[in-house]
């Protein structure tokens, strides 16, 4: 039977042709389901009967994942063919129930058996689930547990089925006796207290294993690196008791000795750790030897040999690390022969230890450099004398002929349209490079796949001249069939409406099936945040010119809780909690309740988000909030509502338009009341705002390349019931990798505001003003102090902020290790009371150094900023600890 594929085809028999007209098509489903799935029925009333349409209908309906079978019945009537399509519902999981012994909760059983919402309850899955649950119960001490599972359909078979676990737990085993074997008096005393579970406690195998591991670790900690501890159990069904025996083999106390050469303390620590963790077994000894060899090679001992062996000594054992270092070699000179300068930068440097891996890397670098210049057959070898001392490293290059591209052509039956073309690297008149040709091939493959030719093949052809000085290069494109998208089947939806998925698809029925579009669709679906799994696959594996696709998704939880903890210089520590109800009405609408609190303030917010306003990809967000904050010199409470709509042109560019109405009350004023226009102690903000963002950063938390541009213009008008003012804030940042470890970040900010409706502009209400200084710059200052100050009621100088802000900063970040970076920065900036006061000679300059530790929530940042032009009496420097970059 298995060999059927190799068998010859045999003759067939009867006929299948049938051209009668279809009179009636019935989809035998509940009305709502039938309405949703009617689009997948391709058998048409009034059209001639078509076997292929029947097959396609079954394939499409089956691909929805909702049915175990789809039966198409055909019946000849007096006026034509009547077709009945009878889908058989799949037993999809609804609830999990426990019957029999209630030793486990249904929710826990569901988690243990890894049951996903709506998954098919097929016999094999039921068997797996019951096995998982039985294993878990046995692990909890029900050693005789037996579990079977069955699917119990609901009255409405299209509503799914309950999975029922039938549990016979048997008695829960308890620990009868615990003994310790193998360990002598002292060692026994050392580990006896670790034995778990205690007699009389339920027997949980994982606890016993953990106890054995703790015993081993404790013995290892006393120098018995080869100690072992395992647990054996014996179950007596008549008493439901388990006898536990901990087999402990402490072994001798082991120390590490070196012979032949000394090793550093840190290397000794590493080697001891390898031996300890590996239980001084053969592998661990080899690992330790390799570690020592590597350390010596890095110091220029090319011929180092290390042998690690265990020796018995009186009262213990010793692991001896015998080191034969050989001669120490350094790089005396680096010579490149056979290649015209300039040469690429090499890893081997004069005066540094001579290391084989660096020499190999240099050989590769030089070969690649020659290949880049068109020397296809270039060979580079390194010649280094044996022995030690300052050695001359010679790289001998045999470049061979230099090949230039004489002609380059792409031989294709269908040229790509203008927008799909990629610039190719290979060009006539330029050196011939294999790497470029390979990249060009890949670029063409991707472009044609995106253009609907998934089975395209691109073959390079290179014809060299006899002396290999020139080459005629071509890329031959064999397109294969052009594939367009047939039907798109959406599978796996529980609460989400189908249109929510369809509107995110970059692929469209009847359009080319491009690989890029497929990936984009997948990304957009993932960005919704509604699904835990997403896959887009072809319905049939055969290369048909029209491929139907199945978009299969698995919905995630609809109610989510998020907790946050953060820190900033002003707030020190803040915590937040957010509860969201997602996918309201199946339309990806979200309701959010958010609360944040710190020692300096609080914020409560209720928000509602509609991602598709009036059927367009435009976000609407409405929120009501109340916040309270204690700032330097004043405090305020603010209550308000806002409505915002965001249009995203692409993942980088977005425009938001907002209307805010908020009442603010300013209190605890320490700054003189003169600093605050009296009418602004309690004020209303009412007016529209607009924000534009272009975010091209590679990582929004810790960018290495890209840009960020933000512009925000906020207004409030007396005619709308608020104070009259206009406020703009603009920000530009750019990030560029200077080398593999070095990143340059530059940023500029400008804030401008003015009031209206008075004889002359005055300062904005205090909470609306711009402030500068602190961990976001300039960093030589305390928070808000880079700007005008005034003597407060407590006789301290307090910041008053102002209507204008300028800031510029540059920062160089050097990645010392994977997570640790060093930074040097310079910031300049200040705040002016009024725009008319702006004078660049008033700007404050600071410089400083910092450390960054990379975490998943952004870098933890420690900065030390030094003022370059401090005001008299001010401290000249400031430390900042916070999370996130300054820009």
């Amino acid at each position: 039977m298995r060999r059927a594929i190799l068998a010859l085809f045999l003759a067939g028999r009867s006929a299948f042709a049938d051209d009668a007209t279809v009179r009636k098509v019935e989809l035998d489903l509940p009305p709502a389901l039938a309405a949703r799935l009617a689009g997948y029925v391709t058998i048409e009333a009034g059209a001639p009967w078509d076997d292929a349409a029947a097959r396609r209908t079954v394939e499409l309906l089956f691909a929805t994942g909702e049915f175990a079978d789809v039966v198409v019945e055909k019946e000849r009537g007096p006026t034509g063919i009547e077709v009945a399509i009878k889908p058989v519902p799949q037993p999809r999981l609804r609830e999990v129930r426990i019957e029999g012994d209630g030793v486990i909760a249904a929710r826990k059983a569901r988690r243990i058996a890894r049951l996903r919402p709506s998954e098919g309850l097929w016999p094999r899955r039921l068997e797996e689930a019951s096995r998982d649950l039985a294993t878990a119960l046995q692990g909890e001490g029900y050693l005789e547990a037996q579990v079977t599972a069955s699917a119990r359909p609901h009255r409405d078979p299209f509503a799914g089925a309950d999975l029922v676990f039938h549990v016979k737990s048997g008695p829960r085993a308890r620990v009868g006796a615990v003994t310790l074997e193998g360990a002598g008096g002292a060692e026994s005393t050392l580990v006896a207290d670790l034995a778990r579970p205690h007699p009389g406690e339920p027997y949980v195998r994982a606890r016993a294993d953990k106890a054995a591991e703790r015993m081993r670790k404790r013995l290892v900690g006393t120098g018995r690196w080869g100690a072992t501890a395992v647990v054996r159990d014996a179950y007596d069904p008549s008493t439901a008791a388990v006898t536990l025996v901990f087999d402990v083999a402490p072994g001798p106390v082991i120390t590490l000795e070196t012979a032949g050469a000394e090793i550093s303390a840190s290397l000794r620590e590493d080697v001891e750790q390898i031996l300890r963790e590996g239980g001084v077994k053969r592998d661990a000894e080899e690992g330790a030897g390799e570690k020592v060899e590597e350390a010596f090679r890095q110091r220029g001992y090319r011929d180092v040999r290390v042998r690690v062996k265990e020796e018995s000594r009186s009262g213990g054992a010793v692991v001896v690390c015998e080191i034969e270092p050989g001669p120490e070699a350094t790089v005396g000179a680096v010579v490149v022969e056979g290649m015209e300068p300039p040469h690429p930068s090499l890893a081997s440097r004069v005066g540094e230890p001579l290391e084989e891996h660096k020499i190999e890397a240099d050989t590769r670098t030089l070969s690649r450099s020659l290949e880049e210049a068109g020397h296809v057959d270039a060979v580079v070898e390194a010649v280094v004398p044996e022995g030690g001392g300052a050695l001359r490293v010679v790289y001998r290059a045999r470049p061979g002929p230099r090949t230039m591209v004489e002609t380059f052509a792409v031989d294709t039956p269908v040229a790509l349209p203008e927008g799909e073309r990629h610039e190719l690297r290979t060009r006539a008149g330029e050196p011939y490079r294999v790497r470029d040709l390979a990249q060009d091939r890949n670029a063409l493959l991707s472009a044609y796949r995106d253009f609907g030719y998934p089975r395209v093949e691109v073959t390079p052809e290179v014809a060299f001249a006899e002396d290999r000085s020139t080459a005629r290069v071509s890329l031959h494109v064999a397109l294969g069939p052009k594939v367009t998208v047939g039907r798109i089947v959406i599978a796996g939806l529980e609460h989400t409406r189908e249109e929510v998925v369809r509107r995110e698809l970059a692929l469209a029925e009847g359009k080319p099936l491009g690989l890029g579009l497929l990936v984009e669709s997948q990304k957009k679906l993932a960005a919704l945040g509604l699904f835990e799994r997403i896959s887009i696959s072809e319905l049939a594996p055969d290369p048909d010119p029209q491929q139907s696709l199945v978009v299969a998704v698995e919905e995630g939880a609809r109610t989510t809780f998020a907790f946050g903890i953060g820190s900033s210089e002003r707030e020190i520590l803040r915590g937040s909690v957010e509860v969201s109800r997602r996918n309201i009405g199946g339309m990806n609408r979200t309701f959010t309740a958010y609360a944040r609190g710190s020692f300096r303030g609080s914020r409560f917010l209720l928000g509602y988000r509609e991602p598709y306003l009036f059927g367009n990809a435009r976000d609407l967000y409405v929120a009501a909030f109340r916040e309270e904050e204690a700032r330097t010199g004043f405090s305020f409470t603010r209550t308000g509502v806002l409505g915002q709509t965001v249009t995203r042109w692409n993942p980088q560019l977005s425009l938001s338009i907002r209307y805010s109405f908020q009442d603010t009350y300013v209190y605890d004023l320490e700054v003189p009341v003169d600093e605050v226009d009296r009418q602004y102690r309690t004020y209303t903000l009412s007016g529209p705002s607009v924000s534009f963002v272009s975010d091209g950063r590679d990582d929004s938390l810790d960018p290495r390349r890209g840009h960020f541009v933000g512009a925000d213009i906020q207004s409030s008008f007396h005619a709308l019931g608020g104070a009259s003012f206009l406020k703009g804030f603009f920000q530009v940042s750019n990030y560029r990798p200077v080398s593999a470890r070095l990143t340059l970040a530059v940023s500029g900010r400008l804030g401008l505001a003015r009031t209206f409706g008075k004889s002359e502009p005055v300062q904005l209400p205090l909470p609306e003003r711009f402030f500068a200084g602190g961990d976001y710059g300039p960093r030589g200052f305390a928070t808000d102090y880079a700007g005008p100050l005034t003597l407060g009621s407590s006789k301290e100088l307090l910041p008053t902020g102002g209507n204008a802000l300028v800031f510029g900063g540059v920062e160089v970040r050097y990645a010392m290790m994977r997570s640790l970076s060093l930074a040097a920065f310079s910031d300049a900036g200040t705040v002016y009371s009024l725009v008319s006061d702006m004078d660049l000679s008033d700007i404050f300059y600071t410089t400083g150094l910092g450390l960054r530790y990379r975490t998943p929530v952004g870098p933890v940042r420690l900065d030390w900023g030094l003022k370059l032009n401090p005001r008299p009496g001010e401290p000249s420097y400031r430390f900042h600890i916070t999370i996130g970059n300054a820009f």
């Binding site: 059927a4 594929i5 085809f9 028999r13 076997d51 292929a52 079954v58 089956f62 019946e75």
Partner: protein, 191 residues
């Protein structure tokens, strides 16, 4: 009166008389599924007709073929050139001239294409692994012709014996491959 009674009787006989039974024919359904992809009744019927297999055997053959084809079609250049497909179709028509009366041409082409892709994969993946030692061929010769006075000379029988051993080795490898594919797949048979 009599005539009216006669008409009523005729009407009654027409209404009461049993009508010829109209039976619905199942033309398509899902007989099994492999990792969520259906094995259809029409496909199975095509395999039954083209290869002369029973229903149950045809379903399993289709399942195996789907699994093998899924892996084989990932091979770069897996699709056979059109001329090879046409040649294969012509050979089939020569062997079974009336096959298109039974099976749709598109189904025949699909079956042929799948088979060619799988065979090509088998050639590339398994054929190079087959090594038949000279000793093995000698053993096979000894087993096949032991005690036969008219046995051919070893040199004359060697090629055929070697070919047979290669074929058996390939078959064993394909069987193992299919077992592995089946073990990793979720296969469901419809009741």
């Amino acid at each position: 009166m009599r005539s009216r009674r006669g008409v009523l009787a005729l009407l009654a006989s027409v209404l009461v008389a049993p009508r010829p039974a109209r039976s619905a024919e199942v033309v398509e359904r899902v007989l099994a599924s492999v990792d969520g992809r259906p094995v259809l009744l029409s496909e199975t019927k095509a395999v039954e007709a083209v290869r002369g297999l029973e229903r149950g055997v045809a379903i399993d053959a289709l399942i195996d073929e789907m699994l093998m084809y899924r892996e084989a079609s990932r091979l770069p250049g897996a699709a056979p050139p059109p001329e090879e497909e046409e040649k294969s179709l012509a050979e089939l028509r020569a062997r079974a001239p009336r096959i298109e009366e039974t099976v749709r041409l598109s189904d025949i082409r699909t079956l042929l294409r799948r088979q060619m892709v799988i065979l090509r994969y088998v050639e590339i993946r398994f054929r190079p692994q087959v090594r038949i030692a000279d000793e093995t061929v000698r053993e096979a010769y000894a087993t096949a012709y032991a005690g036969q006075p008219d046995a051919p000379r070893f040199e004359n029988a060697e090629a055929a014996l070697r070919e047979d051993l290669v074929r058996r080795d390939l078959d064993a490898r394909i069987e193992a491959w299919v077992r592995e594919l089946r073990a990793g797949a979720e296969i469901r048979y419809s009741p």
